[in-house]
Symmetry: C2
Subunit: 784 residues, 2 copies
């Protein structure tokens, strides 16, 4: 099912009417507004998506009778006066269908002569829709501006404010509040002040005529006359007319703002990782909101054409690899708000709070590495890696007796590595486009080239770089991705022996002949992301750590590895799992693919499910102990103001729990089945390799002319396009595909990022199979 | 007025009863619970802080009648059946008094034989208290666990869920939900599932007997009998007894958890800036929650003594200088939640969203520096400074034609500077305790020593370091802090000439004789925070920037400063306002104290009002343009995953607006009056120097034996203690005062941080004069 877009039309002012509670007079308010609109010689339309007998004192039939010619429509009508989730039992109305119908109705109206449309909900904001989901959640993808009908009865201040807050924390814009005047309770006075502080206009209406006690024809008639004259009178009140005017102005202003945002951003913003020369305002995507896998982007149509100005755009970079649990996730919003309300931020040096402690606990369980005992908090992957490097260098210098202020201590790593943009961790990567013009960059290390895993023409292949074939052997074909990760088997092979021998010899040469000193081995396990989505042969990474750990004498003659296990040996092994960790590749850790327990690991991005910055650097007891001394200056004197901020830690605890529950509950079993992976294994095995992207897609894409190779693992799909110029970061080969996806299909388009000749796509861990199928369809079309 | 602590007793299970709406049966539920408690041979107590006639169907009198011997109390009784804020008009009950009375009542009960206490609110969660503030806000400092009475009527699902959300986003723990069974609407079924997902038990009760329609004695009697037998029956239901048991268990578990948290943290956490050797679990403060200026800390009393286990602890470090608008600020929580609900995080490269754009706009207006045109976002002060350094070095190398990959480019700065813990910006500071053992640290620069501003024995003084007296002249006394900042006047003085001459000569020597190359001038304007709260003579910083800008030939013979103003001259001037900016020192910028427009400025900490990490690096158009080229690799290739995250930007927009409104609305005029400062000036003048700390306090402290000197500006108070060993980061002179404050007085204690022999205190910008007065009182006592 294609996604539904948010609703915003130039010619149609569409609003959704929510009630602070049942029976607050939503329909009467709607009727007042529609009357006023019609009397202004404008066209009003009223849509009741789901109507049940008694949830409201009236419905679209009321509008038909009193609406002064208002166009009315009801999508689903139930006669039982109960909540829709009870009335609709066994009726099988999907939420997606309901949303699509509303969007279509409004779009049709926008194309006709309708000026204003009101979409009325049933009951209160959280009253369940037909499938039992809260309406506030159900209707969220449309994100229409809200008319909130407040409650004028005793207790109505509270229910009105709470309803407002529930809407707000789902990212709705409440544009106006209406309620009946009740001079005894004076709710309208209190609420007027309350909403004035939020810059939201409140209009109070005279109370409607009392309902007749008898239902005889006479009473009915009198009631009808009273209602008619009520509408006649109220719909001419100047406050109402002013409100309508304001609604029009806000709709126009909102579109004007969206219209100018790209220009303003072009003026004011210095963009990350962006060469601004040649970039114009039209290259900037204006994001109005986001929900689940989709941004709602402004289409920037200059005309007054009647399509919705907003369009669903698949977030194909998972918002720079952070997105896990869907945009606008109400559970995470509430978690964040709870922590903000309970703590704000409380300083962490010498103190502890529940979220930081719970997260440390849960994270250690998630990483499931017996070496890890200590958690250090920072704000992002770059700072977390700075901490990891400080830890690694310190313990190596300590054990090997090096004076780092006098000697250059290096990093051992892989070519194409990337650990962040602060200068310290830039120095951990080899010279490249990213760093070569940074004035203080001084790469310090040796970076191995390595064999790549890819699917070419439908076949999995381990491709050895030309220069290394003499040492590592030729390319090999492999029957499946599972086999690539069958390290128990592969470690027995000749290839493993060749890998190890080559690595050992190289290190020996660097240390003994070139006199280099190494302080840490740093790896991004399995995939080197920013370096170009390089899928490293896991056997190579495994052999590298094995050689480093099994041959400590390589790094210093003075080897005094403590006998007590677990201890680091050779070099402290740092895994940068900022990108690859926490289910990005389908497992809690990517270290598990190598069956290696690093001494230090860094996690960020998915840690908070894709909401806010937070990073953890986790280390072994022995590494921690090395910083222990009577001297304060020997401590790890690192910290950031918001270290272990409560909001981030709370959201992270919830995110980890949600992802782990999904894993255990078999949420990904459909994907696993497609990949012949095992289901929710107690302990990861090589057979648990799977992706949200189908094997079929991979085979087909890899056989396409324009494609050099592909791979998929976990939520990541990588497509290398053929490039006569040979690829690399400056390649433009993937731009064509990127542009086709940006244009997209009828229903949605795609935001994607390219790295040279590689275009990758990345989903959330909560992406629905339907949504991915649509994406796969578009991808196939775009590559035809 | 002393702050009230949160309520948590070992022997007393105290809960607050909130209703999803008026008339949902709070008092009946309370009575059921009290009956059940009493029947378990435990002692129940019921407190109605504020009672109005009809807000509930009953009140403490109902409890008296049906409560089976429950102890009952009502603090304020109004007969009118309206909301308390109307009933209590002109009654003058302060919220603080109300809270103190509740706390005292509960404490008294805890000391007596009461086992359970229920504190019943009036109406719904947001029904206004006597002063018109929402009860959910009003009672927040106590943060009692919540019994939520849900609504079983039509529409009750919605009002119950909204009420729950309103409580949650204020940081309350909802421990149980009760409601009446209504088999027609089945709200209890829906809500049971809903709350089970939140791990909150829900108990449904049989509906109470219908209220009698007549009020004659007979009906009354029958009603009483029916109620009695209802309570008799319901209070024995096994679900109720299980719930009571659960409440007891939760209370015990909560205290046990608080009891173990320090130990667990000691096991799991690697603390920032902390030497763990010698640190024991008891040195770790356990923070249960926080509100306004106070943490609620666990007292860790091992006994079963009946005092509340939680104590207000003044957040004297403003949580590492971040805190601005109070802990647990509900407006910021809602802002954060709104942004999370509307966007989550949406990627920023090549895209724009409203919060990022609005913040850029507002920030530029706040900084009010005509040079600034571009905003670059990062996550914290350290990364923001890395960006600033990359900007600065690039433009200097570009203009002067230096190849930074071959030459060492240095920073010009002040001794005691600090710009964060990532290695790149560590290199911007001179060797010190902070960095000397960081393996890759290589300080690159020259750092001037400088004259300090301080109050000694009641007199303001500019103290010149011994070694500089020959060049800069002797110490001078100054009549007021305003005079220190009267730079128009002071720039005409001999001192200014001496400062400038000394600076010019020094730079000349460094460049021409020692061959050093400089790429940027980096200053923390006015106060060097982490370096030890060093209050630099603003004249010196002003002269330093003037000399650098007026003498570009000092840095390179090849001077090709563009003629078009504004352009940077000499060196790009970078102001690190991470600590000093955004009202920390009482003004939007601290650059304004020097009347200097830097070319680059970095802001963080207070940017989000003290809630979550966010940082901005703002630069001039010319600096931006230097990165413009046809080459992607010439761009500023820096970015973090959560760059310009929507939650942070939204909260920052609100924070800046709130602080600016406070400034304009004269919220600080009381403080200004004490300091003879001007009120909310259109343009900052030297006369607008003020502090939340009183001049009287400063004079008195500075005359105390133990004190060497003091100063205060804005929210910062700094106290240098006499140290025979001469001070510095490793001094322990301030420990004694810190310990006294940690012990505190009867009502509260103080968390503070020391930097060597300096103890500083820092408030929020919203700290109330009352709260500060209490703090001053404690400070005077502690220093006696």
């Amino acid at each position: 099912m294609a996604p539904v877009g948010a609703g915003l039309w130039r010619t149609l002012r569409a609003q959704q009417v929510y009630g602070a509670n049942t029976d607050v007079g939503k329909t009467i308010v709607s009727t007042v507004l529609c009357n006023a609109i019609q009397k202004q010689k404008q066209r009003a339309a009223f849509l009741k998506p789901v109507s049940t007998g008694a949830l409201d004192d009236a419905d679209d039939r009321h509008l038909k009778r009193y609406g002064a010619g208002t166009l009315t429509k009801c999508l689903y009508q139930f006669d039982e006066p109960v909540s829709p989730h009870i009335a609709a039992k066994q009726k099988n109305i999907s939420d997606d269908d309901l949303l699509a119908s509303i969007h279509k109705t409004l779009s049709d109206w926008a194309r006709s002569d309708v000026d204003f449309a009101l979409v009325e909900t049933a009951g209160g904001v959280h009253s369940p829709g037909p499938n039992g989901n809260s309406q506030a959640d159900l209707y969220r993808p449309l994100r229409l501006p809200i008319v909130l009908v407040a409650d004028s009865r005793l207790g109505g201040i509270s229910s009105s404010v709470s309803a407002y807050e529930s809407l707000l924390l789902r990212g709705y814009d409440i544009q106006s509040v209406l309620l009946f005047r009740d001079e005894y309770y004076q709710n309208h006075e209190y609420l007027r002040d309350f909403f004035r502080n939020k810059s939201i206009p409140l209009v109070s209406l005279p109370a409607p005529p009392a309902k007749p006690l008898q239902l005889d024809a006479d009473s009915q008639l009198r009631d009808e006359e009273a209602m008619s004259s009520y509408y006649q009178k109220v719909s001419q009140e100047s406050e109402i007319l002013r409100l309508l005017e304001e609604m029009s102005v806000k709709n126009t202003e909102r579109i004007e703002r969206l219209d100018e945002m790209a220009d303003r951003a072009h003026d004011l913003i210095w963009y990350p990782f962006t060469q601004h020369q040649g970039m114009s305002a039209k290259d900037i995507t204006v994001i109005d909101s986001a929900h689940d896998d989709y941004f709602q982007t402004f289409k920037s149509s200059s005309s007054t054409k009647p399509d919705s100005e907003l369009r669903p755009t698949f977030d194909g970079s998972a918002s720079w690899w952070t997105q896990g649990l869907g945009h606008g996730n109400p559970d995470l919003s509430l978690s964040a708000a709870y922590a903000a309300g309970r703590y704000g931020h409380v300083m962490f040096a010498g103190a502890v709070h529940e979220p930081a402690l719970s997260l440390a606990d849960r994270l250690l369980k998630t990483l499931d590495n017996p070496r890890f005992t200590k958690v250090f908090y920072t704000d992002n992957g770059s700072t977390g890696m700075e901490v990891a490097v400080k830890m690694g260098l310190r313990v190596a210098c300590d054990r090997y007796g090096w004076d780092a202020s006098q000697e250059k201590i290096n990093i051992l790593g892989l070519k194409g590595s990337y650990h962040g943009d602060t200068i310290g961790v830039m120095d951990c990567s080899e010279p490249s486009t990213y760093n070569k013009k940074v004035e203080w960059y001084r790469g310090r290390g040796h970076w191995f080239d390595f064999p790549l895993v890819k699917m070419v023409n439908g076949t999995w292949k381990i491709e050895v770089p030309e220069e290394l074939r003499a040492d590592l052997g030729p390319d090999v074909e492999v029957d499946s991705l599972n086999s690539v990760f069958d390290l128990d088997q592969r470690l027995q092979s000749d290839a493993a022996q060749r890998y190890k021998e080559y690595i050992r010899r190289t290190i020996e040469d660097l240390v003994q002949k070139q006199g280099m000193k190494f302080g840490a081995l740093i790896l991004e396990p399995v995939i080197l992301g920013a370096g170009g989505m390089l899928f490293c042969d896991p056997l190579f990474q495994r052999c590298l750590t094995d050689v480093v750990r099994d041959n400590p004498e390589l790094f210093s003659a003075q080897n005094n590895t403590p006998k007590s296990a677990p201890s680091w040996s050779g070099l402290p092994v740092i895994f940068d799992e900022v990108f690859t960790g926490l289910y990005r590749l389908g497992r809690p850790t990517s270290a598990s693919f190598l069956d290696v327990h690093p001494d230090i690991a860094v996690n960020a991005k998915l840690l908070t499910g894709g909401l806010i910055p937070l990073c953890t650097t986790v280390a072994s007891q022995e590494i921690f102990d090395t910083f222990s001394s009577p001297e304060k200056s020997d401590a790890l004197l690192h910290g950031h103001s918001y270290t272990a901020h409560a909001v981030g830690c709370t959201v992270a605890v919830d995110s980890l729990k949600t992802m782990s529950d999904m894993d255990v509950n078999g949420s990904w079993d459909g994907f696993r089945a497609d990949w012949n992976a095992t289901s929710a294994p107690a302990k990861e095995s090589s057979a648990d390799v799977w992706s949200v992207w189908s094997q079929g897609l991979l085979k087909d894409l890899s056989c396409t002319d324009a494609v050099e190779s592909v791979f998929a693992i976990g939520t990541v799909l990588s497509i290398s396009l053929r490039d006569a110029q040979g690829g690399g970061y400056t390649s433009t080969a993937a731009k064509g595909l990127q542009q086709k996806l940006a244009v997209g299909g009828d229903q949605f388009n795609v935001h994607s990022r390219v790295l040279g000749n590689v275009l990758y796509l990345m989903s959330s861990v909560t992406s629905k199979p339907d949504s991915l199928k649509e994406m796969e369809k578009l991808l196939r079309t775009s590559l035809q």
